[in-house]
């Protein structure tokens, strides 16, 4: 089975403020405020390049952010599931 592709709303729908290593994010479409810990903000930024699966995102993020996991793809997949539950990403 092909890996799920994820997409996020475009960056202009988000307003972010950095607070002590966390990212405070206002999601304009839902009006909800979220607190995000790394690598969630990096995942959203990487999705701005277009929809991707977990492995692709891990590769996109790897240049700028070190994922502390033996299996970065699995770690990203777990964060994607959380972001999906929060309404910040969706499967395409």
């Amino acid at each position: 089975m092909a890996a799920s592709l994820y997409a996020a709303d475009p960056p202009e729908t988000l307003r972010t403020v950095e607070l002590e290593g966390l990212t405070l994010l206002y999601h304009r479409p839902s009006g909800l405020t979220h607190f995000l810990a790394p690598p969630a903000p990096q995942i959203l930024a990487a999705l701005a390049e277009g929809p991707a699966d977990a492995e692709t995102l891990a590769a996109r993020i790897a240049d700028a952010f070190e994922i502390d996991s033996e299996d970065p793809g699995a770690a990203i997949a777990a964060r994607l599931a959380e972001l999906e539950a929060a309404g910040l990403v969706r499967r395409t």
């Binding site: 307003r15 403020v17 607070l19 002590e20 966390l22 405070l24 206002y26 304009r28 009006g31 405020t33 607190f35």
Partner: protein, 286 residues
């Protein structure tokens, strides 16, 4: 409405109407010296009989107005003053859209505002009222109004609601500033205190926020000060706001701006003198 009072409290105007004379007479006395607003008031509070006959038989005051909570319990007429106060709170909590509303007390010194927020019983009303008698300007004990565009704290110096043990702390003030002792309220014994002359004269003067304080009162607590990180402070302030969600992005902008302008501290205290000393120390080093 047979009996009506119109008052201006900081940037907000209220029209309080009642079917009975008593509550409005008490409010008029308590709010003596407050300006009368021009034009149409921002909010209307109506104190009405819960049922037609309850205007005369075991009179029971239902709190109504522009905004209503359908399941709000009516109060006996003896607590009509409290009903008026609760009515004003309710209109603000449900209807205020011009300011980010924080359930917080605020005082000002040296042109800068200190915001105090915490759970019921944390002592913010008592602290603000007491500081207001000791060199600070009292700005409000129930709601702090944060300007959405200017980021300033706007005074909302309503009468202070002193509860239980706090009532005795203000025996020394001019008796004309005190309302009747209200016993058997849902929060125990309550007595209202009109803020002093300076608070009233300067009710149109906002101040930039300089510090956010999360006080915690407990007889067994050791006096301590703790730094509160910006992320924790933001979360606690969203919980302290009644209209953060309703204001959407404007609320987000105002609250993140507040966090950037004012550092946050938490204090534990076991007595009012202790709290005052902690606050003075913090303020001096801010």
């Amino acid at each position: 409405m047979n009996h009506v009072l119109r008052i201006q409290v900081g940037p907000v105007s209220f029209r309080i109407g009642s079917q009975w004379r008593g509550p409005v007479a008490q409010l008029r006395r308590l709010y003596s010296g407050y300006p009368e607003p021009d034009g149409i008031c921002d909010f209307t509070v109506r104190l009405e009989a819960e049922r037609l006959w309850r205007r005369w038989i075991r009179p029971s005051v239902a709190i109504r107005g522009d905004y209503v909570l359908p399941d709000a319990a009516p109060l006996p007429l003896a607590l009509g003053l409290l009903a008026g106060e609760m009515g004003m709170n309710l209109q603000m909590a449900l209807g205020q859209k011009r300011f980010l509303l924080l359930h917080a007390a605020s005082v000002e010194k040296d042109g800068r505002a200190l915001v105090m927020t915490g759970h019921s019983g944390a002592g913010k009303s008592t602290l603000a009222a007491l500081l207001g008698e000791r060199g600070w300007r009292f700005m409000g004990d129930e709601f702090a109004l944060l300007g959405l565009d200017d980021g300033l704290l706007h005074p909302f110096p309503r009468a202070v609601s002193l509860k239980n043990e706090s009532v005795g702390l203000f025996d020394g003030v001019d008796p004309a500033r005190l309302g009747p002792v209200l016993t058997g309220t849902p929060k125990g014994t309550i007595r209202h205190l009109r803020p002093n002359g300076e608070a009233l004269e300067r009710m149109a003067e906002p101040a930039p926020p300089a510090m956010i304080l999360f006080p915690r009162f407990g007889r067994d607590l050791d006096p301590t000060v703790r730094e509160v990180g910006a992320a924790e402070a933001f979360m606690r302030l969203t919980q302290a706001s009644t209209n953060y969600v309703a204001l959407g992005e404007r609320g987000f902008g105002a609250l993140t701006r507040l966090g950037g302008a004012a550092p946050s501290k938490a204090i534990d205290y076991a007595g009012i003198e202790q709290a005052e000393a902690l606050i003075d120390d913090l303020w001096r080093s801010a």
